[in-house]
C-alpha cells in the first residue's frame, strides 16, 4: 500500500538509505575504488613538473633522450618519441579525463533534466516541440558531428569539445526525466501545490526536481563514460585539443609515430586507463541503478 512508498525523505535520509544498499554491491565498490585511484592520479599529475621541468607532460623533454625509450628508473614508464615522460603524460591524461567527463556529463545532465521536466510538466505544444528536438539530436552521431565541425573550424579547444558533447548528449536523459515527470505530475502533492497557488517554476524546481534528481545522478555516471570515450576517439583521430595531453592524444602519438607494435610500454597504459575509467563509471552507475531501482518500482506500484 501507499505507506511503503514514503520510506525515503529528505536528501540526507535518502542518501544514507541509498548508501546502505550501495555498500552491498560489489560492482559499486570496485567502481568507486577505481574512480578514487584515477582521482588520485589526476591530483598527482601536478607533482612531476614540480620535481623537474623535463617531466612536464607537454613541453618537458629529457635532454639526453630524443627517441622513445622503455621503462627506466628515470622514466618509470619510459619516454615518447621526443623524450617526454610517459608517466607524467598518463597522470595529466587522468586530469583531462575527469575534466572532460565530469563537466560534459554535468552540463548534459543539467540540460536533460531541465528540458525533461519542462517538457513533461508543460505538456502539449511545448512537450511536442522539445521532444521532436530531442529526437532530432538523438539520431545525430555525436562523434561524426564533432568531426565535421572540427574539419570546418580547424582544431577545437577542449572546452568547445566538452560543450558540444554536452549539447548532443542531453536527449536521452531528458526522455527519462520527462516520463518520470509525467508520472509525478498527477501525484496529489503536485496538485496540492497548484491549489496552494504555486507557480509553474516553483512546482518544477521545488516539487518535481528533488524527486527526479536521483535519476539524473544515475544518468550522469553513464554520461561521464560516453563523454570520455568521445573525447578519446576524437583525440585519437587527430581532432583533439593540441594543447592538452589526453589519453586519446597519447594513443594518437603512438600511432602516428609508428610505435603501435613496437612500444607496448607506451601503447598499453593509456589504452588500459581509458577502458578502466569508463568501466569504473559504468560500474558505479550500475550500482546506483540497483539502489534506485526498487524505489522506482515502488513508485510505479503506487501510481
Amino acid at each position: 500500500m501507499a505507506g511503503s512508498v514514503q520510506k525515503r525523505a529528505g536528501f540526507k535520509g535518502a542518501f544514507l538509505e541509498g548508501w546502505e544498499i550501495f555498500k552491498e554491491s560489489l560492482l559499486g565498490r570496485i567502481g568507486l575504488t577505481l574512480i578514487l585511484i584515477f582521482a588520485l592520479m589526476a591530483v598527482a599529475s601536478f607533482i612531476p613538473p614540480m620535481i623537474d621541468p623535463m617531466y612536464h607532460p607537454m613541453h618537458g623533454v629529457d635532454p639526453e633522450i630524443s627517441f622513445s625509450t622503455g621503462p627506466s628508473l628515470r622514466h618509470w614508464l619510459g619516454t615518447d618519441f621526443m623524450g617526454r615522460d610517459i608517466l607524467s603524460q598518463l597522470l595529466a591524461g587522468a586530469r583531462v579525463a575527469f575534466m572532460v567527463g565530469v563537466s560534459a556529463a554535468f552540463m548534459s545532465i543539467f540540460l536533460g533534466t531541465s528540458i525533461g521536466m519542462i517538457a513533461g510538466y508543460m505538456g502539449k505544444a511545448v512537450d511536442t516541440m522539445l521532444m521532436r528536438l530531442a529526437d532530432m539530436i538523438m539520431v545525430m552521431p555525436t562523434l561524426l558531428v564533432v568531426l565535421i565541425l572540427s574539419s570546418l573550424f580547424g582544431q577545437l579547444n577542449i572546452w568547445t569539445i566538452v560543450l558540444i558533447i554536452a549539447l548532443f548528449r542531453w536527449p536521452g536523459v531528458s526522455r527519462v526525466i520527462r516520463s518520470q515527470t509525467l508520472s509525478l505530475k498527477t501525484r496529489p502533492f503536485i496538485e496540492a501545490a497548484r491549489v496552494a497557488g504555486a507557480s509553474h517554476f516553483r512546482i518544477i524546481f521545488r516539487h518535481i526536481m528533488p524527486n527526479v534528481l536521483p535519476l539524473s545522478f544515475l544518468y550522469m555516471t553513464f554520461r561521464v563514460t560516453s563523454a570520455i570515450i568521445i573525447e578519446a576517439a576524437l583525440a585519437f583521430l587527430g581532432f583533439g585539443d593540441p594543447g592538452t595531453v589526453s589519453w586519446g592524444m597519447m594513443l594518437q602519438w603512438v600511432w602516428k609515430t609508428g610505435h603501435m607494435f613496437k612500444a607496448p610500454y607506451w601503447l598499453l597504459p593509456p589504452g588500459i586507463c581509458i577502458s578502466l575509467i569508463t568501466l569504473s563509471f559504468y560500474m558505479l552507475g550500475r550500482a546506483m541503478d540497483e539502489v534506485l531501482d526498487p524505489r522506482l518500482r515502488k513508485e510505479a506500484d503506487a501510481s
Binding site: 512508498v5 514514503q6 520510506k7 525523505a9 536528501f11 501525484r187 496529489p188 497557488g197 504555486a198 503506487a302
Partner: protein, 353 residues
Amino acid sequence: MEVTGEHIVEFEGVTKIYKSKASLFSRSSEEVVALRDLTLNIRKGEIFGLVGESGSGKTTAGRLLVKLEEPTEGVIKLDGTDITKLKGGRLKEFRRNVQMIFQDPYQSLNPQVSIFEAVCEPLVIHGIGNSGNRKEMVEEMLALVGLSPPEDFLARYPHQLSGGQRQRVAIARAMILKPTMVVADEPTSMLDASISAQIFNILLDMRERFQVSILFITHSLAAARYLCDRLGVIYKGSLMELGPSGVIIAEPRHPYTQALIDALPKFGQCGSVFHYGTLLAEERRGIEDGEGKGTKEFCPFFPRCRPARAEKCANAMPRLENLSPGHAIRCFFPARPSLQVETAGSSKCYYGI
C-alpha cells in the same frame, strides 16, 4: 458560528465531461459525463456535504471548485464572481481563498519536503509574514490541528508521521492561509474510525475559529450527518436530493438516498427500524446499451430503482424540484414522507460512521 443566508459558492448548471482520447482500436473517443447540470449553493460558514457512491462525481465537483479542472459547461461563482475566467492576480487571490484537503494523506504531501516547509509553503507563495514570524504561524497552526508540541514536528518528513498526523498536517497547510472556502475530499477514508472522529472535530473547530465554509465530500451518510449542515446526494453525476442533513437522514424522499440509508451499518436495537428497500437486487438491463444510446433521456437511477415506473422513468430525466423550502429531489415518484417518519428515527438505534 452562524450560517448566514449569503452564498459563498454557486454552481450554476455545471457539467463536466471527460473525453478519453481515441485509442488505436476505437476511432470514436469515449465520453464520461462526470457531472451533469449541477446547480447548488453553499452558504457562508456552512459545512455542505456531498454524498454519493464511488464514481458519482463528488471529487469532480470538488476539483472544479478549486480549479484543478475546468467545467465543460456552466458557471461556478465564489463570492459572486465567476471563477472559470480568473487569470493572473485574481487567480492568485482565488488560490489564497480556496484550499483543498485531499483524500490520501500518503500522497498529498511531498516526501522530500519537511513538515515545516510543507505548512509554510502557502505563506511563502503568497508573501505572507516574513522569515521571522512564519515559524510562529506554522507552530500555531500545527497546535490547532492537534500536533503538539509543534516544535517536535517541524523538522520531520511525511514518512515519519502516521496517516492521521499527515492528514492533520494537510489540514494545517490548507488552513494557514485562512481561506474562506475549503474542499475536503473524503479526508478520512484512508484512516480508521477513531482518527476520523478526531479529524471531523478539527474541521468543526476550524469552521468555528475561522468562519471557513467547507465542501465536505464523503461516501458515508453517517459522517455527513455528524458534520454537515446541508447535504447534496449525487448519483452518476446528477444531484438527486438536496436539503438540511437532519431532514435528509431522517426523512429521505429520493429512492437513491433511501438506498444509501439502508446501506448504513446500524448499532443498537434496530430490529424495528424501517428498511426502505428501494434498491433492486439486480439491475434492469437494456436501457443504457439499447438503441439510441447516449441520446435517450432517462432517470440515471432507473436501472436500480425499485419504485420506478418504466413508462416515465425510462423516457425522461426528472427535474430537481422542491418538496418543501430547502428540500429538493429529482424523482417523478417521491416516496410519501409519512411512511418513514414513524419508524425510521428509533432513539435506540444508531448509525455508524
